[in-house]
């Protein structure tokens, strides 16, 4: 008997990358979909293993322990993410900065790594040297944290794994950093730092990446003020806890990093958004009207 209805979508979720990651595949036979989803999770686990700040054997832990003494070789994936981080840091003049690990440890948001030397308080992304042969060298002792970008890269790797498995329609959502493949429109509810009054913000998108950040995430009180994992890399200040930023871009690694740049400085972020043909929807309760405004590469 012929069936007119397409195969249903299959979705799985696992705790990964510090959040709950869901992978949904549409239009594939159940077994093929299950195999593809397993591969997507395996690809994300690999990125988690390589770039975790806390796991002793991760590339990032090894670099943080030793790269101020001698160059440390890392996996090509780690090197690629560090290259993206360097590019974002340059374009944003340090608003995005992967050398903020020391600041986050000081604020009690990350556990101190078992390193010989404490980070120099004056460090910046300029102290991270990326050398031939996927090697990393620090000009001064510092601690890298890729929390602001690795999740987006992991989502892109999951999408690559799905493509390699012949999947043409899918959605990978790593706690709000997501990427959609295929022509079907998806609706994404944006959870803002301040619950919306009277409206529910929903983004409708097809094929592309979306990442959202708000200053309030994992915030805690430190030395008399609220701090969070989102840091203005230049001023080493926590970002506004009431602002929520959702960035749409072609790849999730770009969208993920851009959210931090927009949160840090909306005006300075505009040329960076345009460079990547990205759009940011920004919510703040003090903004007029609905509380939303849109900046970047507007059509």
């Amino acid at each position: 008997m012929l069936s007119c209805s397409p195969p249903p979508s299959i979705e799985r979720a696992r705790p990964l990358l510090g959040t709950v990651v869901a992978v949904r595949v549409r239009g594939a036979a159940p077994r093929a979909a299950a195999r593809a989803i397993d591969r997507a999770f395996a690809a994300m686990s690999e990125i988690h293993r390589l770039m975790s700040f806390h796991e002793h054997a991760s590339d990032i832990s090894r670099v943080n322990r030793g790269a101020a003494r001698a160059p440390v070789a890392v996996h090509p994936h780690t090197f690629r993410v560090l290259a993206w981080a360097a590019r974002m840091a340059q374009l944003s003049q340090g608003l995005f900065d992967a050398s903020i690990g020391g600041t986050l440890v000081e604020w009690g948001l990350l556990a101190s790594p078992n390193a010989d030397a404490l980070p120099d308080p004056q460090v910046s992304f300029r102290d991270i040297e990326l050398r031939r042969g996927s090697k990393v060298f620090f000009r001064r002792p510092l601690w890298i944290d890729l929390g602001g970008i690795a999740k987006g890269y992991a989502v892109d790797r999951a999408v690559a794994a799905l493509h390699a498995s012949g999947i043409g329609s899918a959605c990978v959502n790593a706690g709000g950093d997501l990427r959609i493949v295929g022509s079907e429109a998806e609706h994404v509810v944006i959870r803002t730092a301040e619950p919306p009054a009277g409206f529910l913000p929903v983004l409708e998108l097809r094929t592309g990446a979306l990442a959202s950040s708000c200053g309030a995430s994992s915030s805690r009180f430190h030395a008399g003020e609220w701090v969070s994992c989102h840091v203005n890399g230049r001023a080493r200040r926590a970002l506004d806890a009431r602002t929520t930023v959702s960035v749409l871009a072609g790849r999730c690694v770009i969208a993920d990093a851009l959210t931090k740049i927009v949160l840090a400085d909306e005006a300075r972020a505009i040329p960076v958004l345009r460079r990547f043909r990205a759009v940011a929807h920004v919510h703040h309760p003090a903004y007029s009207g609905s509380g939303w405004r849109t900046v970047g590469a507007l059509q």
Binding site: R191, L200, T294
Partner: protein, 176 residues
């Protein structure tokens, strides 16, 4: 990339924003997925006060439910069902352990999220069901995605630590 931001008016009667919820697997589907070709035997336990205390001191995680939903596999492995409640979410998940008590697989079964702390209320589930069907949101019939303040998986990590202590102290312990 095509995208647009929609601001959907909420019903004036809605006390809270609609909750996001998704079911990935039923218990039966998770059992088939994690223990394909094996026979699972239901072996539910009620933890004694002494066991609860031992699990809490070993794992550092509070035991909120003394009912342990466990199935034993014919090769000595275990299928455990558990639930964790966070500030914004409510998660049921399944853990597969091999015969040595090593985690073989973890699958989230369902996930519910809402604004604020209403997940702590006993009526939370009912409220979600009511809201979901009566909600003015008619986008593909369901809200399948959410983006925003990053959700932590810390509660699941704690839950797994508690279940591993439960395995070591209760399931793997010799019967008295």
């Amino acid at each position: 990339m095509k995208a647009r931001l929609l601001l959907i008016p909420l019903s004036p009667f809605a006390l809270v924003a609609p909750a996001y919820a998704v079911t990935y697997l039923t218990v039966e589907q998770a059992q088939t997925l994690m223990f394909e070709g094996h026979v699972l035997t239901r072996d539910f336990r009620t933890l004694t006060a002494a066991q609860t205390q031992a699990i809490e001191s070993d794992s550092g995680v509070k035991v909120t439910n003394p009912q342990l939903s466990a199935w034993r596999d014919d090769a000595g492995g275990w299928f455990l069902l558990d639930q964790v409640i966070g500030k914004h979410e409510f998660i049921n998940y399944a853990l597969a352990l091999d015969a040595n008590g090593v985690v073989r697989q973890l699958e989230v079964l369902d996930y519910h999220e809402s604004y604020g702390g209403e997940v702590h209320l006993p009526a939370w589930r009912r409220q979600f069901v009511d809201k979901h069907h009566g909600s003015p949101l008619q986008l593909n019939g369901d809200i399948k995605n959410i983006s925003g303040a990053t959700l932590s998986c810390g509660h699941i990590t704690d839950g797994v630590r508690r279940l591993l202590a439960t395995y070591a102290l209760v399931l793997a312990a010799p019967e008295h």
